[in-house]
Symmetry: C2
Subunit: 245 residues, 2 copies
DNA sequence: CAGTGGTCTAGACCACGAA
DNA sequence: TCGTGGTCTAGACCACTGT
């Protein structure tokens, strides 16, 4: 608590939350703020990093730090039994996809339970809003399961189109396991998503299996931690089964 | 990519993943490593921060950096329709809980849809393994919903005991919404969880409602990002409903 | 081009842990 | 006590953005 950067972050946060600085407002430069608070630039940057991770401030290299629009988060939503997987990221979200055929590397191969080097269809879905890339999803389907065609340039940014194509090809997804961890963006992802390295991201690894337990789809989602959230909605249709432990 | 700390992190990661440094091994001191790589200490610390967030390295203030045991993650698991919420964090995990009555602050009050200052039962669940605190869960139940007693000192670290007590009190949880975001630990949480400030955590906000749509429980879970994951398993019992979009 | 953030240096002092 | 990580300084140079 006695950290210098924490108290500076608290002060700046108050300015934003009380509306002294409105969304879209450009903050004074880091050098200005550093002299104003009588600290060195690294210390001030630590304070700004706190606000950035909280999603209150957005850094734009070369142009400044800006107050973020609230409620401006990409949402990876999962409804009951995984039926609805949708992006409720508001209007103006464009999704694009690219399809290619790649060979399975050792890690992907072991997860998909196919030999290393097997042919996979890879889809890369990106969503952008107001020009900036907001999410990245890489979806892999082994050729041994199905050889699929192009995904449309619209629809879910999370690769739902691939599931539609799997269904059309007669492959039934029966179970899905999703693993969410927090980590830093790789330099590759940072470049694509246009975020700083050493920025936390929410990484979702989604594994879909069919009735035989065979893995039919692997999806790797990367959501910038400061502008994304994972939302799970579960409804208990039957009564008396709320036996959470 | 050309970052100095990234390449150092890559080098150290290779040493760990190839087994040159085994789990539990203490790394050379940061000063040693800095001189070895001919960088300043802050730069070396950036490299270590990358590995820390990846869960490969564990920092212990005053004693050093250590290679982490793999697969040593606390798991917040959600089964179908939220029935199974369990900690699969392996053996040796102890859970303790504290109960108190607090007044709702403005934020909690608005989420729980009760007046500010209303009486709430607060449970604080902590889990520890091998002596170190691993997770923190704060669960709030308005007195207008139910006035509950002590939670046992065992069971789920995620406050499942509270749901059991709610059920025993005749309160049926019908729907649960869980929101997962990545943020830094607050200084308070950092102190409790014994982690550095500016460490990413997975924060889960769980909101349970009854048949009338009334909020009956608010749970705030804090999981250290480097040693936790959220796991969702969804099974589609009926066929032909895999219409993910 | 000027101004901004991104990275880095070569130290300093403090807080913590173990002996 | 001594070595460790945690924080901080007062700069420097590079990369990016907009004019």
């Amino acid at each position: 608590m006695a950290n210098r950067y924490q108290s500076i972050a608290d002060d700046l946060r108050r300015l934003i939350e009380t509306g002294k600085w409105l969304p879209g407002h450009r903050l004074p430069s880091e050098l200005d703020l550093a002299t104003r608070y009588s600290v060195s630039t690294p210390t001030l940057r630590n304070a700004l990093e706190v606000l950035q991770v909280e999603g209150l401030v957005e850094k734009r290299h070369g142009s400044g730090n800006f107050v973020r629009q609230p409620q401006d988060r990409v949402r990876y939503a999962i409804g009951e039994c995984g039926v609805e997987r949708q992006a409720s990221s508001g209007e103006g979200t464009e999704v694009s996809s690219e399809r290619s055929v790649v060979a399975a590397d050792s890690r992907t191969a072991s997860v998909l339970e196919v030999p290393t080097g097997s042919a996979l269809t890879e889809y890369v879905f990106t969503s952008r809003r107001l020009g900036s890339l907001r999410s990245l999803a890489r979806v892999y389907v082994p050729h041994s399961v199905a050889v699929l065609g192009e995904a449309g340039a619209s629809g879910s940014p999370w690769g739902g189109a691939v599931r539609d194509m799997l269904a059309a090809a007669g492959v039934q997804v029966m179970a899905t396991v999703e693993r969410v961890v927090s980590r830093f963006a790789t330099s590759n992802e940072a470049q694509l998503l246009h975020i700083a390295t050493r920025t936390p991201v929410l990484a979702v690894e989604r594994l879909s299996t069919d009735a035989n337990g065979q893995v039919v789809e692997l999806a790797l989602l990367v959501l910038p931690g400061d502008r994304a959230e994972v939302l799970l909605t579960t409804r208990c249709a039957h009564e008396g089964e709320v036996a959470a432990r």
